[in-house]
């Protein structure tokens, strides 16, 4: 387990990777990658998730499984996988380029270690995670399944099919996380899709719900600990991470503008000037 100071250093480097990757690719999704960078850093590096790049297999046997349902968050996802040792960090420079294993959205065909399943068409990952969790239940594999949903993504009907299914089947080896950054492509999630009160919604669907400040490492680690404490008790667990779209870069923060847009080289420099290089750029 690394300290909060260490986690801050890692997430700072991850934020630099995100900016540099989308700038180099001239496309990609920085906004949600920046909003989810802190709690995902905690998940991969904070001793929360049981995972090991050396013994990783796509079946997830003997380890925890992480499903990225919001598949457009590849910048943060690939950066974390590389920094955790799943593949060389230099490969981040190939993001979204022809022939790369770092496809715009996660791909199995590309064979990138750490990636369990393709995603990108939204709303599907919770169903997938439910299946993985049930498979682990059948196999008496006591490990957990984590899944990350976007808040805008939660406008998809299938999310709520899966919400009902997980509670009905008492899938209690599953921790879902929602990056509640309150922005989507066309604007605020409440103005675009009428998302409303996620906490009440998930509770009424029979889930254990925890809310957390998604940029406070102390709170994040405590929330993950609480979530793990709720597993094995007959209910699925939802962690609502209250975050800010584009967090860490002043001109990207709190706006939908940078959901899926790459900064120019000049703007990327402006962003990078605000983020400390801690582990060395790729």
């Amino acid at each position: 387990m690394v300290s909060i100071e260490e986690l801050k250093k890692i997430s700072s480097q991850v934020r630099r990777d995100i900016i540099r990757m989308v700038c180099s690719a001239k496309s990609g999704h920085p906004g949600g990658s920046l909003s989810s960078a802190d709690f995902l850093t905690a998940l991969y590096f904070g001793g929360v998730m049981k995972h090991d790049p050396a013994t990783w297999t796509r079946s997830g046997k003997g380890q925890d499984v992480f499903i990225l349902s919001a598949g457009h968050l590849t910048p943060v996802y690939y950066s974390l996988l590389a920094r955790a040792g799943y593949f060389p960090v230099e490969e981040l420079s190939t993001f979204r380029k022809f022939g790369s294993r770092l496809q715009g959205h996660p791909s199995i065909e590309a064979g990138l270690p750490g990636v369990f399943q393709p995603s990108g068409s939204l709303g599907q990952g919770l169903s997938l995670a439910a299946g993985v969790a049930l498979g682990k239940r059948i196999d008496n594999d006591g490990n957990l399944t984590y899944v990350l949903l976007g808040d805008g993504e939660s406008e998809e009907g299938q999310i709520w099919e899966a919400a009902m299914f997980c509670a009905h089947h008492k899938i209690d080896n599953l921790i879902a996380i929602t990056d509640w950054n309150r922005q989507q492509i066309d604007g605020n999630v409440d103005s675009v899709g009428g998302l409303g009160d996620l906490e009440s919604k998930w509770k009424s669907f029979g889930w254990e719900v925890i809310s957390c400040d998604g940029h406070d490492f102390g709170a994040i680690l405590s929330a993950f600990g609480k979530a793990k404490g709720f597993t094995g008790k007959g209910k699925p667990v939802m962690l609502l991470m209250n975050t800010e779209m584009g967090h860490g870069v002043d001109f990207m923060a709190g706006t939908c503008e940078w959901h899926g847009k790459a900064p120019s080289a000049e703007l990327a420099d402006k962003a990078l000037a605000q983020i400390e290089e801690t582990l060395g750029d790729y």
Binding site: K61, Q117, S119, S127, A130, V132, L134, I138, Q158
Partner: protein, 317 residues
């Protein structure tokens, strides 16, 4: 001509149910999911005897496909079943991402396919499912012709690793293929050898093709009948070899023209063995309520129409 005997009418979906049960009894990794249709898709015995491997998904097909893919990731052989329309058209994108692009070991078990679903009418009668599933890279598409073949195909699908679309139907139809057959994925079955015309059929229309061949024989016409139980991958060699010999071909299927077996055969022959072709299919229409046999006749999906099409194909030679 080779004689086939109807050993007693049975529904192909019951062949699926028996095949699934047999596969599950042999392999503890076989799991099954359905969306509020246990009885219709013949999963009752499986659900009763293997409750820890059976998942009732409720009326939520999209979630069912994703859950099946998740189970498959952990090493399970997952059969997800509902009516053909609801496990193709309704969930095409889920199948595309989670099953086909994800290369997961999921079997889409599609019951009540085609117009012979009958009285429920067009909302439930898919005639487009083969087109949708054929279009997906790497998807195996199987459409067996009777109870025995469906049972064997289900066992073969369970033994094969990868995405499979397995299509079968609701009504009781003649059961005429061998009880102990081994189903080979990707292999066409020459049901009858002939020299004047090749009748290529799939699913329920294989029996009709054989009946058509019998009536043609009475007129002195020798028809070769091929059962295309695996639509994808297509047994190109068998099709080309037969049509090179006969020079005329009829394609018969309980599906629309667009994206169906007929277009597939036409595309296959165009490059290597152009021939005079006729098509027996649902054309470009939706179905309607009626008994299966009424609908087969009304939509021209029977032995009589196949025989007419065969004579037309021969007359163009």
């Amino acid at each position: 001509m080779k004689k086939y005997t109807d050993t007693g009418k049975k529904d192909t979906r019951s062949g699926f149910g028996e095949g699934l049960y047999e596969a599950a009894a042999k392999n503890p990794d076989v799991v099954a999911l359905t969306a509020d249709l246990i009885g219709s898709v013949k999963m009752g015995k499986f659900a009763k005897d293997f409750p820890e491997r059976f998942f009732q998904c409720g009326i939520a097909e999209a979630n069912m496909i994703g859950t099946a893919a998740g189970l498959a990731l952990t090493g399970k052989t997952a059969f997800a079943s509902s009516f053909a329309e609801f496990v193709t058209g309704r969930v095409y994108d889920q199948i595309r991402q989670e099953v086909a692009y994800g290369h997961t070991n999921v079997k889409i078990a599609a019951s009540h396919a085609g117009i012979t679903l009958g009285e429920d009418g067009a909302t439930h009668q898919t005639m487009e499912d083969i087109a949708l599933m054929r279009a997906l890279p790497g998807m195996v598409v199987i459409n067996p012709c009777d109870f025995n073949q469906t049972k064997a195909a289900t066992i073969a699908a369970a033994e094969y690793y990868g995405p499979v679309y397995l299509r079968f139907g609701r009504p009781s139809v003649p059961n005429f293929t061998p009880e102990d057959q081994k189903f080979e994925i990707g292999k066409a079955i020459i049901m009858n050898e002939g020299t004047d015309v090749t009748i290529i059929a799939t699913g329920h229309l294989v029996w009709e093709a054989l009946k058509a061949a019998e009536s043609l024989e009475a007129e002195g016409v020798s028809a070769e009948v091929i059962d295309i139980a695996t639509i994808k991958p297509l047994d190109r060699e068998a099709v080309i070899a037969s049509v090179s010999k006969t020079g005329a071909v009829v394609c018969a299927e309980e599906h629309n023209m667009a994206g169906g077996l007929g277009e597939l055969i036409a595309g296959t022959l165009a490059g290597s063995c152009p021939a005079h072709m006729e098509f027996v299919n649902g054309q470009d229409r939706f179905g309607q309520s009626g008994t299966p046999s009424e609908l087969m006749t009304a939509y021209g999906l029977d032995a009589e129409h196949i025989a007419i099409a065969a004579r037309q194909a021969i007359s163009k030679k």
